[in-house]
């Protein structure tokens, strides 16, 4: 369970997505770059090996 206390614009929480449910209309979702995702978890603000908190830099 994750409680979001506050959030900047366009912040997303990305996990590995879910495979095997496309036949039910459920998109895979998750991080677009699945190879980079576990590497990003080494950086600050990551929640675990498989979940990454992304806050984009606004232009």
């Amino acid at each position: 369970m994750i409680e979001i206390l506050s959030s900047a614009a366009l912040s997303t929480v990305q996990d590995q997505g879910r495979d095997g449910y496309l036949r039910y209309g459920v998109g895979t979702s998750g991080a677009m770059d699945r190879i980079a995702l576990p590497l990003l978890s080494k950086f600050p603000y990551s929640l675990s090996e498989s979940v990454f908190w992304r806050t984009p830099r606004l232009p």
Binding site: L22, R23, Y24
Partner: protein, 223 residues
């Protein structure tokens, strides 16, 4: 305005590095769709294939990992398609009472304007067929249906509606369908029904599957 083409050539294309799409040649009809179901059942047994997902006379294969030579599947798909017979899945029949028009069908009058048919004629044509679930996709539990009367063909809207409630009954091109949850849509909404299409608690989360059938029934017609 774009119109669904009735007959398509065979096409095979890569979707990034994680999937390949097979588009069947010919018509968007039940004969072709039954061969897609058959091809899906065959292809999901191939090594390295994670999931075989039937679409509307197309089939997407996802890979366990990006294959070294994905186009080697090209020949396999063509061969399996040529060999594929019609898999006649016949599932359950669901009857859906629909409230047509009014606040439930904000685009019914656009369908009147485009087709030249009256509201009564449109509803009569819409409830007449026994629709077959061809495939699931778009959003959880959503069913792509085959069997709509071609007289009800209406192009998708030029500007999509940002949010329509779940249960919206709509027409897009040569197809009709019922949205399984709230969301944006470019289709023309003509009515609404109450049906839960998806329950994530179930082992089989989608209530309907390819081969199941839907019949619409007129619950009421609003001006």
């Amino acid at each position: 305005m774009t119109q669904d083409k009735l007959s398509e050539p065979l096409r095979i294309s890569l979707l990034g590095t994680t999937a390949i799409l097979f588009e069947a040649p010919g018509l968007l009809d039940l004969h072709n769709q039954r061969r897609i179901w058959s091809l899906a059942r065959e292809a999901e047994t191939w090594p390295g294939i994670r999931e075989a997902i039937p679409g509307m006379t197309n089939l997407m294969l996802t890979f366990d990992r990006p294959p070294k030579d994905p186009m080697s599947l090209d020949a396999a798909l063509r061969e399996a398609w040529n060999a594929a017979g019609e898999l006649a899945l016949e599932g359950k029949l669901v009857e859906l009472p629909v409230s047509y028009g009014g606040e439930f069908g904000p685009h019914l009058h656009d369908v009147v304007a485009y087709t030249g048919l009256s509201v009564d004629e449109i509803i009569e044509l819409h409830v007449a067929p026994l629709y077959t679930v061809y495939a699931l996709g778009s959003h959880p539990g959503y069913c792509y249906l085959g069997g709509m009367d071609p007289k009800l063909t209406v192009p998708r809207r030029k500007t999509p509606v940002l949010s329509l409630p779940g249960g919206s009954v709509s027409i897009g091109g040569v197809q009709t369908g019922v949205s399984a949850s709230a969301g944006p849509s470019g289709w023309n909404t003509i009515g609404r029904t109450a049906m839960s299409f998806f329950d994530h608690e179930r082992a089989e989360p989608a209530v309907l599957a390819p081969g199941d059938m839907i019949r619409f029934r007129v619950e009421r017609v609003l001006a």
